[in-house]
Amino acid sequence: MTTILLIALIVGLLVLRQPLLIVLLGATAYVHMVWGRGQLDYIVEDMWVGLDKELILSIPLFILCGNVMTRGSIAQRLIDLLASVTRPLPGGMAVACVLACAVFSAISGSSIVTMLAIGSVMFPAMRQAGYDIKFSLGAIMSGGTLGIIIPPSIPMIIYGLVTETSITDLFAAGFGPGFLLTLVLSLYSIWFNRRMPSQRFDPAEFVKAFRNGIWAVMMPVIMLGGIYSGWFTATEAAAIALAYAMIVEIFIHKELKFIDFYKVVLEASKLGGSLFPVLAVALSLNIILIEHQVPQNMVGFLQGYISSPLAFMLVVNVLLLVVGCLMTTGEAILVLAPLLAPVAAAYGYDKVLFGVIMILNLEIGYLTPPVGLNLIVAMSAFKQPFGLLCRAAIPFILLMLGCLILVVWQPWIAMYMVTGTF
């Protein structure tokens, strides 16, 4: 009965259009009142405890770094460099689009920012070059989703914080699936555009584009190289990346002035203001749920019905795909990850692997209506009808589902960079 009332409270708050912060606060207060000692000041105390983690500092740094690097002409520089390399391939421009999204993802950590930055340059260029409109839109929208799987990824950091999983391991585990998706999308781009004429490689164009774009390309190399080699922690890598981004943008690209820096920091503050309090409440809820052994009870309950780990994984994937259609990535991770990760661990799935699988599912959610963010943003950014965008996304969703199945079937794709074994 008390569980039904909790669900009713959450539904009631959702109908009353309450922010996620309030929904989580309501649920946490209910748990304290009904199952706890009724001391609601513990919520704020747990929020403080939740935020008092040095790892959390990597989030504002990565947000700032992404904001500094993704303004100005970085996207154009990356596209020029990658287009000069992929020109000899059939569908070279489409491959350049996917690769630019992948490299940009390793700088920005955001799906929408990646799609908008690359798409605003590539969509008109691909249309002008005669690429199919549905294909172009699909490639840009799906390429944008790489932003949350290729590290640094803000959703991965949030997952790591709410499930107490190593963020460095999550970043390492995101590399394989990110590479797989990039490869699959690139190969599909070549196959789909196999009748498009290819062009000759122009060394002079490459050298010029290399000179302009190398500073942007080096950013993920330094940041991820530092993390993967064990030289930096995630927070240190974020600090180094921010320093690098500032130096490049102020002294080399000369595109960052003081007033721009104020705007960049203000944007980060806005994002921080909507994210950190919610994260703090989610962490507070997490603490009280663990105190009352809710994840363990869920494990016991589920194991009574589902004995096979594979069956569990199938059910969870279907659930996450449905959730991805209805909720944004941040909401889904904050609400579901603390509940599902311990259950997945009880079924023998590593929490790092489960995090990657969860993010792969939610990544597909960016392309599925009604809350597919990349569809919604593409509708206004590229002025295309929603139906066309949904149809354009279908082949790419199928490819991404294929990659998801492959990662579930062959976990080493994600875990090799963590464990070093197949």
Partner: protein, 189 residues
């Protein structure tokens, strides 16, 4: 800041001005905090990871090259900046709002629902503010100090109830003068 500039005139100009000043103050506070985090952490990491090996290479013993307690200072700045950010997110309509149930009520109820939502959010946040002060009072009474830098905790923890209070009051202002309510963003990631 407001979603409907024309209709915003319906609210007293004093209220509009007060909200603007309040918003700007929160923006500057948050920008100062996040800039502080960026600067201190970057200098700390560069000191430890770049300067130290460089000095070592030159056989110079300069002692610790990082900034003592950098991460603790940054965490305090993060708490202050984030809870100033609640007000900023409220003023700019940037809070994460699940829209899954928006269609469950008739569309023409929209404005009334928004107003009711603002009243409810404001009242709940006022309650959270109260419990925030209770928590800070207990820390103050116990004179709790932070590890590493040994500073009193309560002045920094005060940012939590104050952030909630700022957001609560703003939501209640939106409920009184709906024209001041910011237009929600087209999309939120």
């Amino acid at each position: 800041m407001t979603g409907n500039g024309g209709a915003a005139a319906a609210a007293p100009s004093g209220a509009v001005r007060l909200l603007d000043v309040w918003h700007k103050a929160e923006c500057w506070l948050a920008v100062a905090c996040f800039s502080f985090i960026a600067v201190i952490l970057v200098l700390d990491v560069l000191g430890r990871e770049v300067l130290a090996p460089l000095l070592q290479l030159l056989s110079i013993d300069a002692g610790p090259t990082g900034i003592f307690g950098a991460q603790r200072y940054s965490l305090f700045a993060l708490v202050i900046g984030s809870f100033a950010g609640i007000g900023i997110a409220t003023a700019t309509g940037s809070h994460l709002v699940p829209r899954v149930a928006f269609g469950w009520v008739p569309a023409h109820w929209g404005p009334a629902m928004d107003r009711l939502a603002d009243v409810l959010t404001g009242l709940i946040l006022l309650a959270v503010t109260y419990f925030g002060f209770v928590f800070v009072e207990s820390t103050h009474a116990a004179q709790l100090r932070t590890p590493v830098i040994d500073w009193l905790l309560w002045p920094f923890q005060l940012a939590i109830p104050l952030g909630f209070l700022s957001a609560a009051l703003r939501y209640l202002v939106f409920a009184v003068w709906p024209s001041l309510r910011p237009k929600p963003p087209e999309f939120q990631e």
